[in-house]
């Protein structure tokens, strides 16, 4: 479904990605883990062409979308939940969702809206509230809902756990599990390796802009290198807090 081939991105002198190749098959839940600054956000943003200075190619659904503009990619069926959620904080919850449906016909927006309210009842309760007033977890749900309103085949997720309490993180991942079971293809990037790999079928490890490991998520979870570099780090962070 998604095929990223030897993608390289640099910001001036900083080489953020070098020769990254990633693929996602229809129906898969793939997680890519990497520490802060590894290049995860850069990867997702280049796939969506939010940053456009990349070398390499991105193919989606058999079509080359390397140079396609972001709104065009969205209409083709790829959606992103951006890092830091980036909801429209001055608009209401409902308006945020409606914006997700911007490219869809009115009837579809209506049915999708109902689906979102069923999946995230809290959004229905708060639909007239200003989105900026929501809690972090609710904002994450809203960002996911907004992305789903585009009726995507593939959902890109950038660090859904960022800044959320462990219980809320679990809740978010449980929703993703439901969506994946419903047939949605997901490519997720995370620092929080444990959660990301637990819910995924396959995984990649990104370090300093290069893919250094890939394989079944369960195998990566058990990999000593991963344990040392990522799981161990989280463990350490917990202690430092």
């Amino acid at each position: 479904m998604l095929e990223v081939k030897s993608l390289s991105v640099s910001y001036g002198a900083v080489q953020a990605l070098s020769n990254v190749s990633v693929h996602v098959a229809p129906g898969e839940f793939v997680s890519l883990i990497g520490s802060n600054g590894a290049g995860k956000t850069t990867l997702l943003n280049s796939i969506m062409n939010i940053i456009g200075n990349s070398k390499g190619s991105v193919t989606f659904d058999g079509k080359d979308v390397t140079k396609a503009r972001t709104p065009k990619i969205v209409t083709k069926g790829m959606a992103i939940v951006p890092e830091g959620r980036r909801i429209f904080s001055n608009m209401t919850v409902r308006e945020n969702l409606e914006m997700g449906g911007f490219t869809r016909p009115a009837g579809e927006v209506k049915t999708n809206l109902q689906k979102m309210f069923d999946l995230f009842p809290v959004l229905e309760e708060r639909q007239t509230q200003t989105a900026g007033m929501l809690s972090g977890g609710e904002q994450q749900m809203l960002a996911i809902g907004r992305a789903l309103m585009t009726s995507p085949k593939l959902l890109l997720m950038d660090e859904p756990s960022m800044g959320l309490a462990p219980l809320v993180i679990k809740e978010v991942y449980e929703k993703l599990k439901v969506l994946a079971a419903g047939g949605l293809t997901i490519l997720l990037v995370e620092q929080n390796a444990t959660m990301a790999l637990k819910y995924a079928q396959r995984g990649y490890v990104l370090e300093n802009g290069r893919i250094i490991l890939q394989g079944k998520a369960s195998e990566l979870l058990g990999d000593n290198e991963v344990k040392r570099a990522y799981l161990g780090k989280e463990y350490k962070e917990k202690w430092e807090r």
């Binding site: 830091g84 001055n90 914006m99 911007f102 490219t103 900026g132």
Partner: protein, 287 residues
């Protein structure tokens, strides 16, 4: 009281122009210094169609507004879109250049004289408590408020208006919803240019229209936008009305030759004392 009425009249116009500044500021972060030239253009177009070609007013009006709308689109395409290095300082400088070009072109087409736009509504003076107000003034105030209300309705209720607000909030996020920020930017220039055109049409029977009208009206609209606080639509209208009233009252105590200077006095005062404007809020922080 008479001062209040004339202040309200000019203030509504400043408010309209300030709204135009606001729309463009919200979608691009730019101050469009050619905003006043669009007001002039509205006056010139209505003069040409209605007074020169004697097209009936209710046909000439939509043609004028459509003209301003289209020129707004072209303006964005030429001066903003084509700019090679889109830094704010470059683009703002370009808008200043554009305003000079528009003024020169207008001078060549319409000459240097003030052009009189015939009355298109019956002129009557309405007796009000403490003074009189002309029917044209009432029209100006009513139309300005109607436009402000219409803009608000458009932004709150229509799909494209909401998309515009989404772009005010976060352009990247808007793009990930499939909203073309490029199109919204074009639309914001077109809408604010059409609004300036409306301002030009409604003041021209009172002030007449001259090729260089845009400078003063543009700067006063800018002062109104600063007074109210950029980024807030109702504040822009309120800022305009306040500026108009302030200007009108000041004319009664200081020589009227200084009337135009009041707008700049207000800009300075606000920039020194309350840079966010009277009603300015800090932009909602992004999480």
């Amino acid at each position: 009281m008479q001062f209040l009425y004339s202040g309200l009249t000019s203030g509504s116009i400043y408010g309209l122009v300030a709204l135009g500044f606001n729309i463009i500021y919200n979608t691009t972060g730019l101050i469009n210094f050619a905003q006043g030239e669009f007001v002039m253009l509205g006056g010139m177009l209505i003069y040409t169609l209605f007074c020169m070609f004697e097209i009936p007013f209710y046909t000439a009006l939509p043609l004028t507004l459509a003209g301003c709308f289209i020129i707004g689109v072209l303006y964005e395409r030429v001066f903003i879109h084509l700019a090679r290095y889109k830094t704010e300082i470059n683009l703002v400088t370009l808008t200043i250049a554009a305003s000079i070009i528009m003024r020169d072109v207008a001078m060549h087409i319409w000459g240097r004289d003030s052009l009189r736009v015939d009355d298109y509504i019956p002129v009557v003076n309405v007796q009000m408590p403490g003074g009189v107000i002309s029917s044209q003034s009432i029209l100006i105030i009513a139309v300005s408020l109607l436009v402000a209300w219409g803009l608000n309705f458009f932004l709150k209720k229509s799909k494209y208006g909401k998309a515009m607000r989404a772009c005010f909030d976060d352009q990247t996020a808007a793009e990930t919803c499939g909203i073309s920020v490029r199109n919204v930017r074009i639309m914001s220039f077109a809408v604010s240019s059409a609004m300036a055109g409306i301002a030009g049409v409604i003041i021209s029977p009172i002030t007449f229209v001259t090729y260089d009208d845009g400078i003063m009206i543009g700067l006063k609209g800018f002062a109104a936008a600063i007074l109210g606080g950029l980024g807030n639509f109702w504040a822009a209208v309120a800022g305009g009305i306040l500026l108009g009233i302030f200007e009108s009252f000041s004319a009664s105590v200081i020589p009227s030759g200084y009337k135009d200077a009041m707008a700049f006095f207000v800009i300075l005062l606000i920039l020194f004392i309350k840079p966010d404007g009277l009603f300015g809020r800090k932009k909602a922080t992004r999480v």
